[in-house]
Assembly symmetry: C2
Homo-oligomer: 429 residues x 2
């Protein structure tokens, strides 16, 4: 009923990213904004430093008082006060006067230089503290001037920047009580397949527990979405159509698993037909996940992932994750990629671009990537370690341990542009 | 009032980690458990495969029926059924019969081998589908036997493992409706300092906004804790003592900033004295954060971090973060470290071990680390990029761009043991 025309991953991503509009803006406290992306540039509401201040512990002075100072004939200044944390000196410092000043404190009126504490000798005259200055100080010496680091109004972090603790510190510094971010997209997850058992069902021959639904839920959380687990459905066309129609109205993004292949019980193509959805693609030249389908209805996307766990995992990471990051307003929505050394032989041939779940290890600054589940006994446990996709491009022959491979990082807070993602090696062209 | 005896970082960490007991166990749905650590090993509640199953699309047969099969005299078997997803074949397959079987489906009773679909010729006899088999099949050929991947009862992920989407998939596969984890520690954050303004206060000379409280809140979230922002206090001994005493009862961990130095307004030493707290240390041979103090009262730790933003940040990451991970039950609570190439000159000398906030970049598989805020104008904006601590050990001279440095990764989901953390380079000895 639908023609299956295989397209390359880059083309598939290009088609779906056209629908990636940043979500509704909302304002969060800096206590809630970690893990979101800045919806607007973070603007300095004041200059840094915010006032002329001392970069050292020392004494604020008037440089003119030291013009004729020498070792043999030092200038003697009377210490008329001390400036502690958060304090300012009241009044103006007069001729032949000095004020004890702490690092970061505001330069008192009347002063135009700071002399470091090590450079003076403190003496008492009539029980009053004085300092001896033994050489002339130039005007403006040892003063951090207002705005010399950042001018008021400067964008110190751009829109689309991931909000980490450092960004939170800046938001607080610049007085953001309300941080502009994009709402997490409500992301519905619906799994299909008559072979699927609930988690607390006893096992039956021929059946397996639904792991995809929970896995995608966790992947969506990692991507920054607000996942909503909508349950599982048997392979029944009417029920599935009904559920998808109803649920699509309640969410921003809908993710389904199963039913996209060409078997007798693969109803997703027929459901998209009945929905009148715009099928963006239903076949991608990659493994796993070649039957991954994405359709659009009223501007909302339905990601119909394969029911095969590894295809499901990979389909989410390559297609849904950048889309979710873009809706969150990330400046660069694609997972970062880099080169790594293959940690074990990978002997499959690659008639298509292949994306294999793997585990990264940094050893003395070199990144190693080892495919998960290479040998039978490791399949299950190594799944828990997967934190990257190893890319074996179409046409690549058997790969030996120690060869160079490209990897896509799945646990990184950083992300890159589509252009960079598809540059060079992971080009899928 | 307290003797300040400087100790090395490793000794400081050793002292405080003695109080790191895993938190109370709680049980979460797999929908809630992402980002926690497994409190018990993840046990296979069934063997994998859970039943004898076919690794291919093909036909389940009785090997004895093919004993004399040749190309010229093929065995002809009648196809008596088909097994789809989640189905089982009812009844027993008899002599000279075969069943069409899909990948992953259960081997029907009576059969002891699977022949791949490519290896047979399908023919019709009296309108009934039959297959021709042209060579003898051995018993047990092409069957994935129950438990050959994982035996029931095997621990497939150990206690203390970080729960990522792959672990969630395994938890679901093995029927965990309730995942055992350790409660996030309630982590109170109290900032002190008369110079601190609230976020919506207008700026005043000599004062700065409270950024540390919000920054630590975000760092605590990243560490996996449940942070509770308790507000800010002026430098007043009575108020601070009162607040710390009251709040300590409400939280599992208390973090304060400011008041730990040796100035006139640094009240934390006197507060610990009044509290009758056991001060584990109050000086560490490192920069920044040398005055970082940790005290214990009734088994709870108070992390008294410096009020200086970079010292505060570094003190949290080096001391509080591994402690929080250990309370969460992480098997290895320390942030991973590796070698990187220095991305810019760092010309400060290092009379003490120095931990500098930096930004990581992976370029073609090589990790580069560049200190944040090397030049004045970059201080503020580069803070937003910090995702590592660059380690310059005591005695290291000026470091040039391109030299090798050790870095501690701050955004990683992985973590390492204390032994590994202090091995070789970051030894702090």
């Amino acid at each position: 009923m639908f023609e299956r025309k295989s397209i390359q991953l880059q083309e598939a991503v290009t088609r779906l990213m056209k629908f990636a509009n940043p979500g509704e803006m909302e304002y969060l406290s800096p206590l809630e904004a970690t893990g979101f992306y800045l919806a607007e540039g973070l603007v300095a509401d004041h200059p840094v430093p915010p006032f002329d201040r001392s970069p050292y512990d020392g004494f604020a002075i008037r440089s003119s008082d030291t013009a004729r100072a020498t070792t043999h004939n030092p200038s003697v200044l009377k210490v008329v006060g001390e400036i502690g944390a958060g304090q300012v000196f009241s009044g103006t410092v007069g001729e032949k006067e000095a004020v004890r000043i702490m690092t970061g404190a505001a330069i008192p009126d009347g002063c135009d230089a700071v002399i470091m504490i090590e450079a003076v000798r403190e003496i008492k005259i009539d029980d009053n503290l004085h300092i001896q200055v033994r050489r002339p100080m130039k005007a403006n010496k040892n003063i951090s001037f207002t705005g010399e680091d950042v001018q008021q109004g400067t964008v110190v972090a751009e829109a689309g920047k991931y909000i980490n603790p450092g960004v939170i510190a800046l938001l607080a510094t610049f007085g953001y009580t309300q941080v502009p971010v994009r709402k997490r997209p409500a992301t519905g997850i619906l799994v299909t397949g008559s072979e699927l058992l609930d988690l607390d069902d006893p096992l039956e021959p021929g059946k397996i527990r639904n792991s995809n639904g929970y896995m995608i839920h966790s992947q969506a959380l990692r991507a920054g979405a607000e996942p909503i687990y909508l349950g599982k459905l048997s392979d029944d066309l009417e029920t599935n159509f009904e559920s998808i129609t109803t649920n699509l109205k309640k969410v921003d993004i809908l993710i389904t698993t199963g039913g996209v292949s060409v078997g007798d019980y693969d109803f997703m193509p027929e459901i998209f037909n009945r929905l009148g959805a715009n099928v963006l693609f239903n076949k991608i030249g990659m493994r796993p996940g070649s039957v991954t389908t994405v359709a659009e209805k009223n501007g909302k996307l339905i990601f119909a992932l394969s029911g095969n766990p590894s295809a499901c995992y990979v389909g989410f990471e390559l297609l849904a994750r950048p889309f979710i990051r873009a809706v969150l307003g990330a400046r660069h929505p694609f997972s970062p990629r880099t080169t790594a050394i293959l940690g074990a032989d990978f002997l499959k041939k690659n008639p298509f671009d292949r994306f294999v779940r793997g585990k990264l290890e940094l050893k003395h600054g070199t990144l190693f990537a080892t495919p998960s589940g290479l040998d039978k006994s490791g399949v299950v446990s190594s799944l828990a370690e997967a934190d990257c996709l190893i890319v074996f491009l179409k046409g690549r022959k058997e790969s030996k341990k120690g060869e160079q491979v490209e990897v896509i990082l799945l646990d990184s807070k950083e992300s890159i542009s589509m252009e960079d993602f598809f540059a060079d090696k992971v080009r899928g062209r």
